[in-house]
Symmetry: D3
Subunit: 257 residues, 6 copies
């Protein structure tokens, strides 16, 4: 049994509270075990300069931690005057994966700003951010539809993320907390759609490597967790869930071409 009593392939308890911040067009407070993140989606009626006039929308994300989200107080990036490499990687990832399930042409020339602020961290903050940000984004789109600024929710599929890893004692485990993450030999973040396709795989052996068999087990375990996360998203979104379309997969399009 794992340090917190879970089975190897068991997620931590997940809760998503919607409409957490009154000013934001969409917002949630997601908790995955002791990891707690506020995700907001804000709508901006213009796109970045390099996209103007193209008729397509854009989704961009920012990620930060409160100084005391962690065991040791971390120095604010505003005080340091620069954003760390880790933060940049995470915010690029969040924006990229959300864009993969949005029909940016249908969105039109608008930018969705996603903000993921980690209130308390216990491993898996980037994957919790993605899972929560997806819901906040759908809520913001629903508001645009309600205000007749969009004809329909331009989301082609569900999207959620989790981490998997190889623990020196337990082998492949799902949804690592901070203590497990610190010890893991291999750490992998997986982002998948409701249709079961991959959007992003980032697997890393820090001072370690992994075989093809291990990779297969990691990916199956991740899929197991993500299916459950998407079920939670569906429940939270209620009738909005039915408005999320099914986009043709890349595989199908390649076959067609």
């Amino acid at each position: 049994m794992r340090v917190d009593g879970r089975e190897n392939k068991q997620l931590r308890p997940v809760h998503i509270e919607t409409h957490f911040i009154k000013h934001a067009e969409g917002s949630v407070f997601i908790t995955v075990g002791d990891t707690k993140v506020i995700c907001t989606a804000s709508i901006d009626d213009k796109v970045p300069p390099f996209m103007r006039g193209g008729g397509k929308g854009w989704i961009t994300a920012e990620y930060a931690m409160l100084p005391r989200a962690t065991e040791q107080r971390n120095v604010r990036e505003s005080s340091k005057g620069k954003v760390s490499g880790r933060t940049m990687e995470i915010q690029r990832l969040i924006g990229r994966v959300l864009r993969s399930v949005v029909d940016l042409e249908k969105l039109g020339e608008k930018t969705i700003w996603i903000d993921c602020d980690v209130i308390q961290a216990d491993g898996g903050t980037r994957t919790a951010s993605i899972t929560g940000a997806f819901v906040a984004m759908v809520l913001a789109f629903a508001k645009l539809v309600e205000e007749k600024r969009l004809a329909e929710i331009p989301v082609t599929d569900f999207l959620a993320a989790t981490s998997v890893g190889i623990d020196p004692q337990h082998g492949v485990i799902l949804d690592l907390n901070y203590a497990e993450d610190s010890q893991a030999e291999v750490d992998m973040n997986v982002v998948m759609t409701g249709a079961g396709h991959f959007v992003e795989i980032q697997g890393t052996g820090e001072e370690a490597t992994f075989s093809r068999e291990q990779l297969n087990e990691l990916l199956e375990t991740a899929e197991l967790g993500i299916r459950q996360l998407i079920d939670i998203q569906k429940e939270i979104l209620g009738s909005l869930a039915e408005q999320i379309g099914a986009k043709m997969s890349t595989e199908e399009r390649v076959k067609e071409a």
Copy 2:
């Protein structure tokens, strides 16, 4: 009646939830109407270079807003690469007033880092931060006492803050929300101790001025609000409240000298 139905000299509802962040030595989540702030107090076993070897402790504060704490999304200071003048003023203020009720010699060579992160803003974020940070700081000291790293809580008096202002329609009002703050001719932040002494008065007439009579009414109204805030702090702190000492006022010391 005011925009939200309050009397001129009535506070908004105030709630303080303690132990909000598991990692921090002291933490609260304070809500004053729709203004919501997470305050944490972190203990560092050293003091800044300019104080080393002096045997005294230090208290310093940082303040920030989540991007979507406000009606319009505000750009992160970490993205801008610098902290605004407004933020610097507020964090200097919070640190300074907390130091006025702590016996820094008793604290010894430790730094207390106060972090006030505004989750949702509706006016009065700096005064809510002070009122909440005081409680978080006492909780952190209590933890040090519990761990036998301090003999007693080195706090000489209670401390809370509120805003008062002159509204073009209603005259002097207490605890301004954002809508009121935007219209006020005069805006004043007052920080007081449990003994009813002033620690800080910052009164400003933006494109306006105020008379001595108006000042008197502003100060009396502020005192009224602060007394209620300190009662709430006492209730929240329970038995810890009794361990907060009474420091001789500056006035008494000047008389003695």
Copy 3:
């Protein structure tokens, strides 16, 4: 008697030399005891982006010290690559109080840049800056009137500032020099108009507090000093002084409404 032989409620010698810098539209060199500040007012024929098209003018201020204005050489803010919190607080203060006595609609879409550069510091640099900057600003307006770019000087009242404090030995004292400032228990900066109204009060007990009675004595002492400073401004400005109007006080307007 105080360290420099003054009475408790006595200002230091004040001199204001006008037209000190040939390029600036308005400029003075003000000395208050050993505190020496160059104040210039520069006219810019546009306003910041957030004000464009509104028909109103703007006044903004910058403040700096030469590295050797102080006993210990201080590192240039340009070398550090950022402006300190203290500097930001002071420049926000100077701009804000000057705006309170200018009719920004009459000024029209122009920005007045105030620069206060401390050549030598001995306490009270921010209040000397305000007192000097007011004169430099009036001189710049006079130039605009002379060049027929303004119909009249859009200044509604005089404005000056001084500091008061509570000294552990002498009690309430006026116009603190650096040595007194370092020892004061309470430090207060007061900005007032010619009509005797307050524009800004910033009172601070660094590791100390103050009572209502002490506050009253501080404010009366400040008023005494500011009246003298305004007399000096009037003398220096000569016939221009008569062109400075009397704006209705906030109190009167609230009564009317």
Copy 4:
């Protein structure tokens, strides 16, 4: 046939010139098609502060492009005053994967600084950097051995990297050039060891997704390319290649535990 006449699973021509920079302990000039990178390895006899006293070494990497490495001149990051998110991701990746094949305890408290400077870019700059940096690092270690500062080359296995992708026309292709990379629906960077284990997999569907079958084909294609790259590294390193050990794989160690 692809835009440059290659088969789908064919690498571009690869050349590695060693000892390219006389000052560096190890250096190569690697060209992969029209992508050209100078890789140097520099030895520093201390480790970063967080590692001091632990007896282990460290490997860190920096990556940059000359302004005219690209079709459009790109602004220098030194002029912008900050390093982009993309650059940070790449340099973190290079350092991390090299550390996975070095026995940091054997290295002892030394830091190896890897610098990868792209002289000309045509896709795959990060994977060319890894493949080249591995050789530069081995050369630097060989120098340390020659100078008797190390007993043996502390490298446990070979390491190389390539990109694979899904092209809308050709399906899975190996070693994408810039034109192909711009059109690819899925882009994946794979880093593998001589033993055929994965060190890092980063697969991304920008505005697209991929299935498990596609993933399998991508990984097999990557492995094909990496085996050839490692053969080239072996040839270049000559007798040094025989001194590169075989580290037990993570899988084997997990099985043992």
Copy 5:
């Protein structure tokens, strides 16, 4: 004889390889002994804001060193977040001297960006940069002529640079390498045209001085070296060399006026 066996007034071997970078409009790889610099010239179809509408072109330069161009690894300026004073001096110098031999009116509203990146440094990097950048710039102009975007190459004369110095042992020497530069009492960089006129003289006695006679010898030695460098430029440029015009010297124009 000097440390590398040269006569006092002998240049190091100089090679210029053209078209080194495929993307740049003009590029060379210049080696002067062990000093190696990539120089590119990029064309931008607009001028900086302060020059718009004036009908004239502009030439600006950037200069950098790879981290391991030097004996000790130097920290990247992008990591430091700022460009050093030395770098700024050099890039201002390169831009300024190139502008002196270009007819900016004939160029029209275009900017030529010169990038000089030092791959390996052994003294004289700024003079090698100037000598190489001149050739890269001419190649870029030739491309503009070829594409009919310019009627003729708007260059009025050749331009090259070298260093001279006073060595404590050998007296005046030409083209100092790093070892010689470190020991020199006086260091002088001279930039001259094909007509034998000076464009820039920068002579410096670091902790030393020099007499008028020494200055004369330094200048004559520099001229000797620059004549040879211009011969090399002519050879490399082949038939393009004949298209470089002869501009009337300042002396002649002053005489005429």
Copy 6:
């Protein structure tokens, strides 16, 4: 006759007021026509890290302009967050030339910080800064001697600087004001010692060139001006002037060797 009525080879009126800033160890206020600079010399009892333990002292300089020193208000470098290339060039120049007339071994491990702050600019600010900074530095050394922290003033010769240029109308002129500097075809700054040796020559033809004959006339004119400036320095320094030694010239030392 020149724009301000001077002869071609005539300096502007020069005044040097000593002990201008009470806190600085040495200070002057130098005016050269309408160019006005405050120069201070501050003593720091340590040297920069790269010089520690070597027994030698260091001299470093900073230079800045007040925002309204110029006709158009210039933006503060502290607001821009970085120091311009021009500023860096000037401060490197000032430090370097002062070091050439100081016996750094005699000074011992101390740093002299020179600050040159331009209050009003009308051309020649860098040369006025050098001429004034020399006097401020001598005054600071005299203070060290008086306090018995130095045995003697470690200055080997006088040092002053002026500008010369080639005017399209008047030919070679001395000590250019701003209007002349803007029109000059060639601009040269010359720094010389009391013994008549050069320390620095920086001659630049911005979009122009100059011949050997013109160079000779420029240097002779500069020498004429510098001799007068050194006479003024001697008069101001009074008896201190006699304590400034004569250092053997580089030429003499090379001859001896």
